[in-house]
C-alpha cells in the first residue's frame, strides 16, 4: 500500500461531453482526498454533488478525465485490473440478478473472484448477513433490506482491502439501516477500509471517523465530524415561533450575548451562541421584552448539516432554504 493511505486522490476530475452543442458538464472538479488504511471514511453531499461519480471512477467503472487516484496503493488509471482484485463494491443500485437464488449469486461471485471454496464461503457470508434462511430463495422474493445485505455480501466474497459503499442505506427502513450500520462496523473491525457515500448526516455521524463534504463537484469541508462541527464554535438554540414573529424575534435576539449568527429553522429560528445553556434565559427575556411568546426551546450541538450550511449556504437535507439574512455576527 502507498504509505498509510488506502485511497489517495489528487486533482480528480470528471467531465462529460455536452451533447448537441451543450457545454461540457464537470461533475467532479479537481478534488483531493486521503483515506487512511482501516478507517471508515464518509463522503457526504446532496444528490447530484458528485459522490457516485467519484466512487465510480475509484472503482474503475468510469474513466478519469484528469488527476491521479490510487486505491490500495495501485494507480486506478494505469492498473485497473489490479484495483478490481483489491476492492469490494456495493453501488447505490443493488446489483443483483433477481432470477438467481442468494446461494447461486454468491457462489458465482466467489467463482469470479477465484475464492478457494465457493460453497463454504457462500454459507459463511449468508450467515454473516443473516440470510441463511433465504439461501435458496430467488432474489426477486427478497425484501429491500435483504437485497441490500446480500449485495453487501457479494462485495465481501474475497475479503477486500477497500470496500466502497455507495449510499448503502438509501430507501431502507430505520431497522434495516441499523442492521447495515452494524455490518459496516463489523467489516471495518475485520480490517477493511470503508469508503462510504451518504446523504444521511446521521449515518456519517454514526459510522465515519472522518468525512469529506462535496458540493457541486468540489470538496467544501474535510475532517472528523467533531472537528468540523467544533469549527462552527457554537451551540444551537432552536426557538419555536409563529411565522409572523420571525422578523421581530430576529431583531430582538440580535442582543443575545456571545451571539454567532441566527438562521431560519423548521420550528422558528436557530440561534448560534457560544454557551447555549447560559443563553436560554437571555433569549426568553429578550423575546418577552419584545412581546413575543416563544414555543418550545431546544438546545443542541451543531450538526453536519450546519457544517454544510456554513460551507455552501444551503442545507443537505430537510429542504430548508438558506437564511435570507443573518444577524448579530460578532
Amino acid at each position: 500500500m502507498n504509505g498509510e493511505h488506502a485511497i489517495e486522490v489528487s486533482g480528480l476530475s470528471k467531465r462529460y461531453r455536452g451533447s448537441r452543442g451543450q457545454p461540457d458538464v464537470e461533475a467532479v472538479r479537481g478534488i483531493d482526498l486521503q483515506v487512511a488504511g482501516g478507517e471508515v471514511f464518509g463522503f457526504l453531499g446532496p444528490n447530484g454533488a458528485g459522490k457516485t461519480t467519484t466512487v465510480r471512477m475509484l472503482c474503475t467503472l468510469l474513466p478519469i478525465s484528469d488527476g491521479i487516484a490510487t486505491v490500495a496503493g495501485i494507480d486506478v488509471r494505469n492498473d485497473p485490473a489490479q484495483v478490481r482484485r483489491r476492492i469490494g463494491v456495493a453501488l447505490q443500485e443493488v446489483g443483483l440478478d433477481p432470477t438467481q437464488t442468494g446461494r447461486e449469486l454468491l457462489e458465482l461471485q466467489c467463482g469470479l473472484y477465484k475464492v478457494a471454496d465457493p460453497a463454504a464461503r457462500t454459507v459463511e457470508l449468508l450467515e454473516l448477513v443473516g440470510l441463511s434462511d433465504a439461501t435458496d430463495r430467488l432474489v426477486k422474493t427478497y425484501s429491500g433490506g435483504m437485497k441490500r445485505r446480500l449485495d453487501l455480501a457479494t462485495a465481501l466474497v474475497h475479503a477486500p482491502e477497500v470496500l466502497f459503499l455507495d449510499e448503502p442505506t438509501t430507501g431502507l427502513d430505520p431497522a434495516s439501516r441499523v442492521t447495515i450500520w452494524d455490518e459496516v462496523r463489523r467489516i471495518n473491525e475485520s480490517g477493511a477500509t470503508v469508503f462510504l457515500t451518504t446523504q444521511y448526516l446521521e449515518e456519517a455521524d454514526q459510522l465515519c471517523e472522518r468525512v469529506a463534504i462535496i458540493d457541486e463537484g468540489k470538496i467544501v469541508a474535510q475532517g472528523t465530524p467533531d472537528a468540523l462541527k467544533s469549527e462552527l464554535g457554537s451551540d444551537v438554540v432552536t426557538v419555536g415561533l409563529d411565522t409572523d414573529h420571525h422578523d421581530d424575534a430576529r431583531r430582538a435576539l440580535s442582543d443575545v450575548p456571545n451571539l454567532d449568527h441566527i438562521t431560519d429553522a423548521a420550528e422558528g429560528l436557530a440561534v448560534y451562541v457560544d454557551d447555549g445553556a447560559a443563553a436560554v434565559a437571555d433569549i426568553v427575556q429578550l423575546l418577552g421584552a419584545a412581546g413575543i411568546r416563544p414555543g418550545a426551546i431546544t438546545l443542541s450541538r451543531p450538526s453536519l448539516d450546519d457544517v454544510f450550511l456554513a460551507a455552501t449556504g444551503r442545507r443537505i437535507e430537510g429542504g430548508l432554504p438558506a437564511p435570507a439574512e443573518t444577524a448579530g455576527v460578532r
Binding site: 467503472l61 446489483g95 443483483l96 440478478d97 432470477t99 467463482g111 469470479l112
Partner: protein, 253 residues
Amino acid sequence: MNETVLLGRRAVREVWRIPAATIPALFIPVFFLVVNLGQVNKIFTPSRTPFLHGQHYVAFQIPVSLVFAVSSATSGLAMVTDIDIGYLDKLLAAPIRRTAVVWGRLAADLARGVSVSIIVLAVGYAFGARVKSGGVGIVLLIVLAASWGVAYAGIAIAIALKTKNVQTTNASFLIFFPLLFLTPNFVPMDLLAGPLKAIARVNPVTYVITGLRDLVLFHDIHWGSLGACVLTIAATGVVLTWLSMRALATFAD
C-alpha cells in the same frame, strides 16, 4: 472454474427460469410456418413441384422457421436488464476478462438455440417434413441453426450496450425481418424476380437458409452450400461479436 462458464451457467439458468422470454420467439416462426403451409400447401405439391425433390412444402420451409426462431434479441434484452438493475456494473467491477460478460450471454444463446431448433424440427416432423440427410443432417441442422442464433445475437448485445434502451434493442429483431424475407424463403433462387434475386444473392441469410435446406431436401451432403452456410455463420459471428465486444469496451465512456 472459468468465468465464461460461470456466467454462461447463470445466463442459461435465467433462460430456463424466464420461459416467457423465449416462447414468443418460438411462437412467431411456428405461426408463420403454419399460415404459410395453409396458404400454399395445395399449390406446391410434391408431385408437381420439382424444387421440393419429393418432399412436402413444409420441408422446404423448415430451415426458414429454424433461422427465424433462433434470431432473437433475447440476449440483448437481458443485457439491458443487467444494465438497468446494476448487475453489469457488479460484473465490470470484478477482476474478470470483460469479454467473458459477452461470451456468457452467447453461451445462453447456444443453449436456447439448440432447444428451440429441436422444437421447430419436431413441429416440422409433425407436419410431415423429413430430414433426408438422416441423423447427421439433423445434428447439423440443430448445431448450425443454434450457431446462427449465437452469431446474430451480437447485434442485439451491441445495440443494448450502446443505447441501454429496451425499445431500441428490441428493434434489432425487426432488422431481421427484411433480412429473412429478402431471401429465397418461399421458392428457390432461380424462381425469384430479378431485383429480388439480386438482393437475395448479397443477403447472408440466403446462404444460411440454403445450406440448411439442402440438408433437409437431399440424401447426400451438398458440401458447397454447407460450406457457404458455415462461412456465413462464422463471418457474421466474428463481425457482430466483435461489435458487441467493442461496445462493452467503450460502455463507460
